[in-house]
Amino acid sequence: MNIFISVLDGWSNYELIMIISMIGLITIVGILSVYFLIKDKRSVLFAIASSITTNLLIISTLFFVDLLDVGLSEGYSFVFLLTATFSAMNVTTLNNYLIHNKKKNEFDIDFVTRDHFEDSLKLISFICLFLSILIAFIDGEIRNVLIASGISSVLSIAINHLLARMFFKDKRGGK
């Protein structure tokens, strides 16, 4: 609970309100864009579940960093920014496959999840490759921020894929 207590002590109300509204609004924008793009109940539920798990994962990462006694500074806001962006990108690719496949006569959800899996692997490779380049050249606090962001981004993509398998597990897609 230390992190939550230090958040309440160290942050002003203004800061808390701004951060909570920012996360809330970005999440709503993400979910609404999925709704307007696909208009499919399961995709919207998947986007909501992905947003919740991503935010929980970010909190857990920050909690873990705090346990290591590294000291949470403003630079750690990038853990949120990077993880949320990569997770949103991953959700978007799945939606793109859904749209693309729905246009075909024979809709195969297995094909979609397989494509999404390949894409998730690519995204994870992109993140690992580039963050490791940065980590090799940057030291100090930013290096820790990048390591934390990289781990939580990779985990969020993996969780997204598991969620996708859960939400789209039957053979037939549709509303």
């Binding site: 160290g10 806001s77 940065l134 050249f137």
Partner: protein
């Protein structure tokens, strides 16, 4: 002398112009690429293409502010301290400071706010934002005070020579800092006070009562006199001395809220700044190698579509080159590590935008909205990241359209 006639009969002007245009565009691309390269800045001393980093601009200070809670009821004390803390934070955040922390503490039974900042912004500007309470109120002259007294020539500037009125900073909805023509026809900055609808009538009546008299605007004990004109409806606008920088600072001080508690700065300490050591030349080379390696893997191991892959690679390199060239030419100070993160975002965004054509509009719209939210609600680096990524996203979109046009035309021209 024999005249030479040039025949244009068989010359096709259209393709020739198109060819010349492509050569011109290609030259421009080479120039952009060269400017953006890390070692170009060392080729010629006369023309500088240096990347301006924030490394030398950063400074950090700790300000200890002692709050005067003696005039506050015990029930309101905590609320007023929290409000003071929020308003100082809001001022600094609106000013775009990179790192801000404000802690509430008690020292020898005194209520203290410990403000720690780390920023590349102007030091005097930040000092003013933290150390001024900026309590605004409209005042009227005390009847027994003589402003013409030669022994006290500055009497008209002192708050103690005025009586307060019911109108304070919170009576105004917004105080607009804008450039307007003054009496001599020159442009000066004015602070135009805009009222809440509920106070409009009372304030207009107040000004009418003091028509053709001098009233004043008191800020932290010092008064700016204001002559009330006879015109109707009356606007309350005070001249602001200084240029754009002063106007920007006053805008933040006027419009970030009314600090309820008086305070004094009891200590200012300079803090050593820790800047991540980063060799941007080595990093650029590593990033470039990483991008090329990634695309080689996509092309030869993952067997991706060569046309899409080459378009994606070209658009990525073009966007990064344009972004770095813009930063170099405009001498915009950058955090090198943030620039590196932005380059990574460019690589991934362009790949996704090109490979997800069906949802390209949706991706762009949701990203634009998200970055706008970051600019409006973000704090510290988030705000900077949102602002820069919005520009980067525009460049990404332009690059994708341009790359498609350029590669198609290039292919056509080479095939002829």
């Amino acid at each position: 002398m024999k005249k030479v006639k040039i025949k244009f009969d068989n010359l096709q002007i259209g393709p020739l112009l198109s060819y010349l245009f492509l050569i011109l565009v290609s030259s421009l691309l080479i120039v952009i690429g060269l400017i953006s390269l890390p070692l170009t800045e060392q080729i010629k001393e006369e023309v500088s293409y240096n990347l301006t980093t924030k490394d030398d601009l950063y400074w950090s200070k700790e300000y200890i502010l002692e709050l005067d809670t003696s005039q506050t009821l015990d029930t309101d004390k905590e609320r007023n301290i929290a409000k003071t803390r929020n308003i100082i934070y809001r001022r600094l955040n609106k000013a775009g400071l990179e790192e801000i922390s404000i802690y509430k503490e008690t020292l020898d039974e005194k209520d203290i706010l410990r403000v720690i900042v780390k920023t590349s912004k102007d030091e005097v500007f930040v000092d003013n934002l933290i150390q001024n309470r900026f309590f605004v109120r409209v005042v009227i002259k005390k009847e027994d005070v003589d402003f013409e007294d030669e022994e006290n020539q500055y009497a008209y500037l002192m708050g103690e020579n005025y009586n307060p009125t019911e109108f304070t900073g919170s009576s105004f909805r917004n105080i607009l800092l804008t450039e307007l023509k003054d009496g001599s026809g020159e442009y000066s900055y004015f602070a135009v006070f805009k009222l809440w609808l509920t106070n409009e009538k009372a304030f207009q009546n107040f000004l009418k009562t003091h028509e053709e008299e001098t009233i004043g605007l008191e800020i932290d004990g010092f008064v700016t006199p204001y002559y009330v004109p006879t015109s109707n409806p009356k606007t309350f606008a005070i001249t602001v001395s200084g240029g754009e920088g002063q106007a920007q600072m006053l805008n933040l001080l006027y419009n970030s809220g009314e600090i309820p508690l008086p305070f004094t700065t009891i200590e200012i300490n300079t803090i050593d700044v820790e800047i991540p050591a980063l060799d941007h030349i080595k990093l650029s080379i590593a990033l470039l190698t990483g991008i090329l390696l990634l695309y080689l893997i996509l092309l030869f191991i993952l067997k991706e579509d060569p046309l899409l892959t080459s378009t994606s690679l070209f658009a990525t390199l073009l966007t990064i080159a344009m972004w770095i060239s813009y930063l170099k030419l405009s001498s915009t100070p950058v955090d090198t590590w943030l620039l590196a993160i932005e380059c990574i975002m460019i690589v991934i965004s362009i790949y996704l935008l090109i490979h997800n054509k069906e949802s390209q509009i949706a991706i762009t719209t949701s990203l634009v909205l998200s970055f706008f939210i970051l600019i409006i609600l973000g704090i510290g680096y988030m705000k900077i990241f949102g602002r820069e990524m919005l520009l980067v996203l525009i460049l990404c979109q332009f690059s994708i359209v341009f790359t498609n046009w350029y590669l198609t035309n290039m292919k056509k021209t080479l095939a002829q």
